[in-house]
């Protein structure tokens, strides 16, 4: 019986994702035959839309779970997060890979995407920094992900080499992430006249970096919730035993970082002298973003981790993730070009949204494909945990 419902669920998933992928392919065809003008609502005043606001900005922020988790485990020595590292790295890798994929739709000549690095580097551009770091970080994530693939394929020697690089790769990942997460925010510092003063700040890079930390942690919790729901059978005992600890630990961590974020946002408001805008309509939007989508979840995370209320934490992670999306949308679309008359403002077209959903569907599909084949949620039986320090575990039977 339960077998039947599971199969039913799987079928439903396949049908829906099939439809989305089909629609995505149609729009893809249109995009590359009609140009951006044929499928998007972008225009000369609104050069960036939802493909940048969601696919790039949210994609990168929400894929931050990769560096936060591996840093927690390998640099801060919180070994109990070990079983969360692989799923987080895989999500991050897929997240970034698909950010790059989605950019192929947005930029005019995608085959020139390597130009900034290899042909004509524009080093004064923050976008150059973003591009370079994302390029390097995708490579780092790819290498970090390979041990799982090598275990699946049975390539023991090369796996061992890569595992030895773990610390170096983790540090590299943190550096590259710090740089491009913050640079994404800094992109907007060039246009003080276009971004509403409540969001414009010279601290934008700091805001983006700090928010990426709790975005990543919340995504790990949120995605863990989904995985536990749909892929419980794939998880080994260690993963299941550690899972609650990971959720509690990350909830406490995220709660603290979010409090800090609210604090620096307030400092920024005061030091930029923009608090007087709070009484406007945009002020309401700003306060909603800060109070309902950051301060509130920070509190809920705090309560959840103190009372060990996993359910509360899981719902909070969804709220936080939505808050990040809300913030990135505000900066890239809602509060951007605020001075233009409403007739000249941007709203995404249906086809733009289809592509964004299409990309998310592809990520989920590939994630499922990989996790059902490679050792992501469990440890490969032939590769004992922490084999580089075998003395640590005298497994008595």
């Amino acid at each position: 019986m339960s077998q039947d419902t599971a199969a039913g669920k799987g079928n439903l998933f396949n049908i829906i994702s099939g439809i989305i992928i089909l629609a995505g392919l149609v729009v893809t065809f249109l995009r590359f035959t009609q140009g951006l003008g044929g499928v998007t609502n972008l225009d000369n005043n609104n050069p960036w839309g939802v493909w940048i606001g969601f696919d790039l900005l949210c994609g990168v922020a929400l894929a931050a779970g990769g560096y936060t988790t591996s840093a927690a485990c390998y640099i801060f020595g919180l070994k109990r997060f070990h079983s969360a590292v692989r799923p987080a790295i895989l999500t991050a890798f897929l997240g970034y890979a698909f950010v790059v994929f989605a950019l192929h739709y947005d930029v005019g000549r995608p085959w020139r995407l390597p130009y900034p690095i290899f042909v004509s580097p524009g080093t004064t551009s923050l976008l150059f920094e973003v591009g370079l770091c994302v390029f390097l970080y995708v490579s780092v994530l790819f290498i970090e992900f390979t041990p799982a693939a090598f275990e699946w394929l049975g390539f023991k020697k090369i796996r061992k080499v890569v595992v030895k690089l773990t610390l170096a790769l983790t540090i590299m990942g943190v550096i590259l992430s710090t740089m491009h997460q913050s640079s994404l925010g800094a992109l907007f510092t060039i246009a003080p006249s276009k971004l509403h003063p409540l969001w414009y700040s010279t601290y934008l890079p700091v805001y983006f970096f700090i928010s990426s930390i709790f975005a990543g942690m919340s995504m790990v919790i949120f995605e863990g919730t989904l995985s536990h729901h749909y892929m419980h059978g794939l998880m080994d005992k260690t993963h299941l035993d550690e899972a609650d600890g990971v959720v509690l630990g990350f909830a406490r961590g995220a709660s603290m970082v979010m409090m800090g974020y609210v604090f620096i946002k307030i400092i920024g408001l005061v030091s930029d002298g923009t608090w007087q805008y709070l009484s406007s309509g945009y002020g309401l939007l700003f306060l909603t973003e800060l109070l309902c989508f950051v301060a509130l979840p920070a509190m809920l995370y705090g309560i959840g981790s103190r009372e060990k209320n996993l359910k509360l934490i899981r719902w909070t992670s969804l709220l936080t993730v939505l808050g990040i999306v809300f913030n990135r949308f505000n900066i890239s679309m809602v509060a951007f070009n605020y001075q233009l008359p409403s007739s000249q403002r941007y709203f995404p077209s249906l086809m733009e949204i289809v592509i964004s959903i299409f990309v998310v569907t592809l990520i989920v599909t590939v994630f499922r494909f990989i996790t059902t084949r490679m050792p992501i949620f469990y440890e490969h039986p032939e590769y004992a945990e922490h084999e580089e320090e075998p003395a640590a575990h005298g497994h008595g039977h």
Binding site: Q34, G38, W48, R112, G122, T123, A168, I175, S182, A186
Partner: protein, 348 residues
């Protein structure tokens, strides 16, 4: 592990980015006054009559497609327009406190162009003539230049699926290079446009304000806006009345982004040190914990062995035991039990 190699690599990366950011800084920290003899255009909006002759000339000179409505159709002025991929310049009409005014829009050829600073493939060049030109051959089509330009000038060929590009005024760079006037300046019947060296134009503008203080507001728009522009403007009314923002500030694009770029070498320099430090601490904590645990276990074992020995000898003296095996089991149990206790304590 090849720690040294890794640190060496990072060091190299740090140096590289420092050098790169250094260049950016060079462009960012000191105020660039523009090329000394660069040209510009003075647009005196009090003289403009909205005849659109400049638009027509621009269209011809740059071989742009013919518009739907001819250039002598002045009804076009009823709606406010901006530059597009088929019009490098447009003239708009404004109802102002001093009656109807007209103003021409085109690229302002900034002294420190935001578009050039933003472009990640260096597609824009600030030429010694003063013009800012664009090279299609490297453009990726990311449109960050459009986001960056405070004057909303660059336009994009959105309907071109294969080779979309940025379109904007070149200040007629090819004509200037031949010593000729830009198309619009040449065509203007009212001398609302004056071409010349920017330094001279500033003087001309000052002089006009001095001579006719009632005609002009006392401001040369573009003298300092966004770090200064090659095109400068004289207005009869405050600039917002003719659609020019007065809140752009005087900071140029490189000044706005310089701070963020300057933190790059800091991150590259500091993070590895910090992170390796944290790693070392956590590793050491692990090691100490492990060491303490080991010591506790050893101590417990020694104690257990001693206890067992006492017990053993007691047992031996107490009675003659035939079954030696029984004692061995008892000893083992005792050892195990006493070993367990401190271990769990150590973990708690």
């Amino acid at each position: 592990m090849q720690r040294r190699k890794f640190l060496g690599l990072l060091g190299a990366a740090g140096l590289m980015t420092t050098a790169v950011a250094g260049q950016a800084q060079a462009a960012g920290s000191k105020h660039f006054e523009g090329y000394p003899d660069s040209f510009g255009v003075l647009h005196d909006t009090t003289r403009c009559i909205g005849c659109r002759k400049c638009e027509a000339a621009c269209n011809t000179v740059n071989k742009l497609p013919k518009p739907d409505k001819p250039f002598d159709d002045l009804k076009v002025l009823e709606t406010e327009r901006r530059t597009t991929d088929t019009a490098y310049t447009v003239v708009n009409k404004y109802e102002t406190s001093k009656g109807l005014k007209f103003r021409k829009i085109q690229c302002n050829h900034c002294l420190e162009p935001a578009c050039a600073s933003a472009c990640f493939v260096k597609a824009f060049t600030k030429n010694p003539t003063g013009s800012v030109t664009y090279d299609e051959s490297v453009c990726v089509g990311c449109r960050y230049c459009m986001v960056a330009c405070s004057f909303n000038i660059p336009a994009y060929t959105y309907n071109d699926p294969i080779t979309p590009k940025i379109m904007k005024c070149t200040m007629c760079q090819p004509l200037i290079a031949e010593g000729k006037l830009p198309g619009c300046v040449e065509a203007c019947p009212k001398e609302a446009l004056t071409f010349g060296k920017r330094v001279d134009l500033i003087k001309v503008a000052r002089e006009r304000i001095r001579q006719y203080p009632d005609r002009y507001v006392d401001q040369i728009y573009g003298e300092r806006e966004m770090g200064g522009t090659a095109w400068i403007y004289l207005n009869g009314v405050p600039s917002p009345e003719v659609g020019m923002r007065d809140d752009l500030g005087v900071a140029s694009a490189p000044e706005l982004t310089g701070g963020a770029l300057a933190t790059v070498p800091m991150i590259v320099g500091l993070w590895p040190v910090l992170l390796t430090g944290i790693y070392a601490v956590s590793k050491r904590k692990d090691k100490i914990a492990k060491e303490e645990k080991r010591q506790a276990v050893t101590a417990a074992l020694t104690k257990a062995a001693a206890d067992a020995e006492v017990k053993l000898s007691a047992a031996l003296t107490k009675a003659e035991v035939e079954n030696k095996k029984q004692i061995e089991v008892a000893v083992k149990k005792a050892v195990e039990e006493s070993a367990k206790q401190p271990k769990t304590e150590g973990e708690a």
